[in-house]
Symmetry: D2
Subunit: 281 residues, 4 copies
């Protein structure tokens, strides 16, 4: 016997820009949205019966229509409105909405922000994932592609040495990463924008201001601080590629290179991930 044991479908990479034309200036929201549904869709697979299959094109249309009415506030609220809308269909058990927000800043014109011209910028991308099911609404927020570097206070030593080990120990290396952090909120209603800004600031601050014995320890220190200082967070997952910066050997040229000239690399890279949670105790 052959069974369908899991399935999930939706629309990904829905791109949308909303321009709000206030008297004091325009506001731009620029989002990439993904929608995924789980539920009673077995017949679509095994019988070619599409009775329950909300078309992914319909999902896209819904994302655009909801952008008109549900995007005045944070992306988490927009995601929740979409998630609850799709959960309202009887065949849907879980609706998951992922939103990535691309940042546009008003262009500075002689000290004043332009009312209607923007430059894309930002350090990392703000993301939110809202998932709605009969069990309730779960909201996660986070940052992706936040590229950060410590040029000091980063070591890596004391690791085991076997016949395959050539890496020297170091008490002062350069550590760089393209950080992903996604945290779960304990409640579905929050001041999402203010909380995001505060969590992101803590994340950067603790990353900058700690002594690192390894990427692993850095993750723990940053993640623990986020959970400690932000009671809205119940759990956080971090993924940090270790984007190695190798000291260039300048000795063939009669030069010393005291942690000054590095080659940044992306292949291969370390990849370190961990999940940290607020316990019951």
């Amino acid at each position: 016997m052959i069974e369908l044991v899991a399935n999930r479908y939706g629309k990904a990479a829905i791109r949308l820009v909303r321009v709000t034309r206030d008297p004091g200036g325009h506001h731009v929201r620029d989002l990439t949205v993904a929608i995924a549904l789980e539920g009673d869709f077995d017949a679509a697979h095994t019988d070619g019966d599409n009775t329950n299959v909300i078309a992914t094109d319909t999902m896209k249309n819904t994302a655009y229509v909801f952008a008109k009415d549900h995007l005045d506030g944070p992306i988490e609220a927009y995601g929740r409105a979409l998630a609850e809308h799709f959960l309202g269909e009887p065949q849907v058990d879980v609706a998951t909405i992922n939103v990535r927000a691309h940042q546009w800043n008003a262009i500075d014109v002689a000290g004043t922000p332009a009312p209607d011209a923007f430059v894309r910028g930002g350090e990392g991308t703000r993301v939110a994932t809202v998932s709605a099911s009969l069990g309730g609404v779960l909201v996660e927020a986070g940052v992706e592609d936040l590229i950060v570097m410590k040029t000091g206070r980063s070591a890596f030593s004391g690791f085991p040495r076997d016949r395959y080990t050539t890496l020297p120990e170091t008490d002062d290396r350069l550590m760089a990463t393209r950080l992903t952090a996604v945290w779960r909120y304990g409640a579905p209603d929050l001041d999402f924008d203010a909380t995001f800004a505060a969590v992101r600031a803590t994340l950067l601050e603790v990353f900058a201001d700690h002594d690192s014995a390894s990427v692993q320890e850095s993750i723990w220190i940053v993640a623990r601080a986020l959970v400690e200082r932000h009671e809205e967070i119940s759990e956080i997952r971090m993924v940090l590629p270790n984007l190695h910066h190798w000291l260039v050997d300048l000795s063939p040229f009669g030069l010393e290179n005291d942690r000054e000239i590095f080659t940044p690399t992306t292949e291969p890279h370390g990849l370190i991930e961990a999940t940290v949670r607020r316990g019951e105790g």
Copy 2:
């Protein structure tokens, strides 16, 4: 109380090429390898104690050394050798090795394959993931980035219509996808190369030779056929983006467009995934 609830680390994007210089001609293996470990690594996080932390640089070195001795056969055997090596360290509970194989074909010179010149090609990328733990060795194989298209025998109709639905029904659409399929083998020892070739051939053949009522049904038909026809497979997971090809409206130019001229798109795309398993019954 704040807890470390999960962690995992390793080296990704290890690039390696092995050239074997046989009298009859050279052979090229071109791999991208990722290694990930789980186990007793809590102290590295919470105490900055690296005693147990096998350096990811050591992992990379090991991948190169093992390429000399363990890469005469299939990539699954190479992956298994690496996985079992790392599982041999007492602090390791699970070692997972992912291998992607990039294809090089001997260049044809006047009807004869060149002994030492190659062109990169291939339709999709062969992948294998071997994971070793106290529970045993689990081998998965598959293809990624296999781009395929049905220009006939593909429909999508009978889906529900609500106020957000504008997609017309169709009994003859173009269906294109960048297919990922990963199947689990029931046993860790097989003729992996022959099995892979046979499974891949079935996959393409069934994809080509079936009537599709939806991407969901196509996944089911293909996945079921793979499990039915290849007893080595116990489970298969497929992920199919629906890379929409929209019919261009040529009516403003006084022309009919009877399923002839399409605009291929990548944003947004449908995303359909399912897992099919051989049951006990």
Copy 3:
């Protein structure tokens, strides 16, 4: 005084697929088209006067309409039809059409090509550029992203050594590249498909079957052979990144590495380009 000294505009990345439904099976053409015009467009810049500005959206529409009537033959003919169409507008001095053709192969079903299912493949991308002006029509053809490798018969030695030189000489290295070759045809009317196939075959054959003292010499040997053997070609330009494959140092592990295990890299890479022409003499 401030002058507009050059300008050019058009539409790029027009994606189009054409399906021809013959009784014996479907045929798929999958193209990416770029259109660029030069001519009397100064007023659009300096006066905001769009009287002469053929909208790039119109160019896109034209590319789709012409795909119906002018795409039964080679991409060069399609490009020429578009180029001559735009040159027909009085304000246009030069119309340049670039076409990239993505390859789809019929899927094999039990030894027979499927009539309506395809897999994307191919080694490199075929390209054509047609440019029409009062001076006539110029046709260029070529390949891009043709990734090739020589595992033998490739050396690099005899280069100068100064205080910045550390590279050892070698009489047997691995040479890999992502080759671009664009050749100019001496006449605008040819059997473009047959000529392309023949030139491409020569290119691969000579690449495989020559001794290389450097990438520079390889370019010369290949380019000269193409011009010598294919009288249709008047000039050829080749661009070859040198995608270094570094021999892994296995001596720390007590192992020899006699040109067997390599690390392929993309950053940094050599970049070698040259143009070779049939002279008058």
Copy 4:
């Protein structure tokens, strides 16, 4: 007779990071460098004679060594030092150095910039190209990948309509682009950092604060302003893809969409380029 009519070679994608450890805090320079030489290299092609071929590996080494001594000032000075170094070799006629600078900002810790932790950011990438020949030194500077958007004061109308034209006229569209601008300095010695900052500020300011009848007119207005206001600039070339944002048709859902909800797209895109020069008059 077959001739080598042009050739050029070098090393591209040299990645380097320099950390300067001042008492008040670290400074990070993060560059991607490309080096290209033209000169007496014919024998390398036609005779396999590498006597004159400075190895591209040597170029890479030189870039690292020069980063120690010549990177305290602007990237233009670093590029010039490298260019003049290579021009010093007798076989070199032209040495061209391209430098792209990636921006790192000190992380803010409770209102104070961290001395040794950075976040990658920036709006666009600063670039410089220095080319040295017997004729002298030519310095170009610019920005790449500066993504900007006008949500007002942008129109496109008055263009010709033929049977292929469907685009409606508009007096209020959204205009977005990923701008490249490269300007030539009239002299090889300037306060490059201050000049770059001033030119970039003008560029953004004029982009924000003008009425656009087309991308063409915008290029002219911006480029002319740069040449007018910055006497250091003798010529400027701008390349602007028109990244169309299409108004979503919400009428099927009974909703008006008055320039509010857009779909951003990248394929196809307009592509408009022009060069503007300070004339003699």
